[in-house]
Symmetry: C2
DNA sequence: CTGAAAGCGCTAACAC
DNA sequence: GTGTTAGCGCTTTCAG
């Protein structure tokens, strides 16, 4: 029926078939409102386009307009459920606005190359950046990239676009719950101390203690980072103490802590209650099922993408969007304090 | 020091600075071997390029050569560790060859749109496709996309490029281990029956039984799909029977099964041994830690990307690459059969 | 060995 | 209302 059909139709083909100039076809097909085109001509063009199954060549368009409609996202780990969620959210929002998502996994330390690659080589319009690297490093690389960017769950000094989770609030909520169960000796498995997120969570933990009139005891906070191994060894260190409950900075470190507890023969929650920030499928898989305070990680991705797209459209979004913590989800890993 | 430096230098700028024609600059900077260029000219061009921090504009190049050096990957779930691993592998291989990876998450049923978007709108050079959809649907969409593609862990009738895991072998290895432990009533939590992977695994399971002289009993195989919930409810169905061990098609369904077991008050592995195909971080987090037979999922991603890139280079790779199953990893979820 | 010229497919002034 | 023109930045014959 159709011609050789192997070659894609170009705007030129459409114009010729409709008997108009290519510029007119462009205006019509793009829905350009500035200039009026005769209804009849318009119809002919649309008809031709449909007949030829015309689809604009995005590369040519990108060259002409210097907009690729592609966003880059750089993440430090691909296997962490938190980042999967962020990517999912970003992808959804991007696609909804007609953008594509270029993904770039990057080992810590490779930030510079990755960002350069993405922005220079691949020509993305903007960048979504989740990093575990030091702030200064990140800052320099990002500036060099010379494209708009929004940071994921991290604030750099000096007012840049970022979307963050209210992890201080989440940490307080989690700790509050432990306190409400009667616990007083509550340990905290922190993130990478000094980092933005770890600090926020630590503050939330302290907020809760203070409000309950419990003294802060530095021997109860152990740095676990955001890994399984980190959680495991941090919990090991805590085992000699008198903590009866622990609030972990993230699900994955909580999972490590639970393994340490099992190996030491402690009962959860009888001997030790445990709650974590971030909710996800893993929480249900653990034994006992992990109580959590959810965090809208997927939403963080979609909001970040939306902000970036606004930026690209020349709008002026709020510099930092702070997403409220999710709900407390009580499962089996937490229980009342028993003497 | 430098000029306004906001604008990126073009090939034209480099050529002008070096006092040569843009075509010569192009030849040199591209390392074109076909035509010889004077050493002296060459040096001048390289020097100018460095001075101006020239980086080729990939969009312009893509328009000219109709190659974007971008691969698209479409995955059905972003939160499944199996797909995270595949993406990681694909990204690594792509970047190593100078390609970028465009990611596209797709709900089952949206295949057509996604594939069309990726190939038409975003202009990828080729596609990496992991799907849970029906074969015919997939096939049609893929053909319409009109770009080279390689399938991930799935074979379509009619000889297309694919990389698959030897899951039959893996399933046999896992089942063999259960048999070696003395189990005779071994259940199987299968994938989506009728699907390529589910079939392969079922075959491997049967191979092992046959070899051991154990009769196949269809009441022992329950369809669990590849989800947590599926595993949980499949295990529930099995609880009334006399199985003493279970081989799950994937880690996530095994996790669901373990929860069902816990909730029913069964001991693992005393009352029920459990082993799964696929290894990953989750296996260590479960309680008891899950025995597995590993699968090279990350490698599947990198091999697929490598094949696709070969294809794009006009080479003729093997149509289907079958990756051997990984090792048996014995953890705590399996134990000898006890009466 | 190097330059001139054409053009990938599209958009955006600017004419008429 | 619609056509003309001039490129975006690069690659690639084809001359010389």
């Amino acid at each position: 029926m159709s011609k050789s059909s192997k070659q894609r139709a170009t705007l030129n083909d459409v114009a010729r078939l409709a008997g108009v100039d290519v510029s007119t076809a462009s205006r019509v097909l793009r829905g350009d409102t500035a200039q009026r085109v005769g209804k009849e001509t318009k119809d002919r063009i649309h008809k031709s386009a449909k007949e030829l199954e015309y689809l604009p060549n995005s590369v040519a368009r990108a060259l002409r307009t210097s907009k690729t409609y592609t966003l880059g996202i750089v993440v430090p780990q691909l296997d962490n459920p938190v980042f999967s969620a962020v990517i999912r959210g970003a992808e959804r929002a991007a696609v909804a606005k007609g953008y594509s998502l270029l993904i770039s996994h990057r080992e810590p330390g490779e930030t510079a190359t990755t960002i350069a690659n993405l922005s220079k080589r691949s020509r993305v319009d903007g960048l979504l950046v989740a990093s575990l690297d030091e702030d200064e490093v990140l800052r320099t690389d990002l500036e060099a990239a010379n494209v708009p960017y929004v940071l994921l769950n991290r604030q750099l000094p000096g007012a840049y676009y970022a979307v963050v989770l209210k992890s201080r609030e989440a940490a307080k909520r989690a700790t509050d719950y432990l306190i409400s169960l009667g616990h007083r000796r509550i340990a905290h498995l922190s993130g990478r101390l000094g980092g933005f997120n770890a600090n926020e969570r630590l503050k939330g933990y302290c907020d809760a203690l203070r409000e309950a009139g419990i003294d802060y005891d530095s021997s109860l906070v152990e740095e676990a980072g955001y890994t399984f191994e980190g959680g495991k060894s941090a919990m090991l260190d805590l085992l000699g103490g008198d903590a009866t409950a622990v609030m972990a900075a993230t699900m994955v470190s909580a999972a490590g802590a639970m393994v340490a507890l099992h190996e030491a023969g402690r009962q959860i929650p009888e001997d030790m209650s445990i709650i974590a920030l971030h909710d996800g499928a893993i929480a249900e898989m653990l034994y006992p099922a992990l109580s959590t305070v959810g965090m809208p990680t997927e939403e963080m991705g979609s909001v970040a993408a939306a902000i970036l797209i606004q930026l690209l459209a020349g709008e002026q979004p709020e510099a930092v969007a702070a997403l409220p913590a999710g709900p407390l989800i009580v499962r089996a890993s937490t229980g009342p304090m028993t003497i």
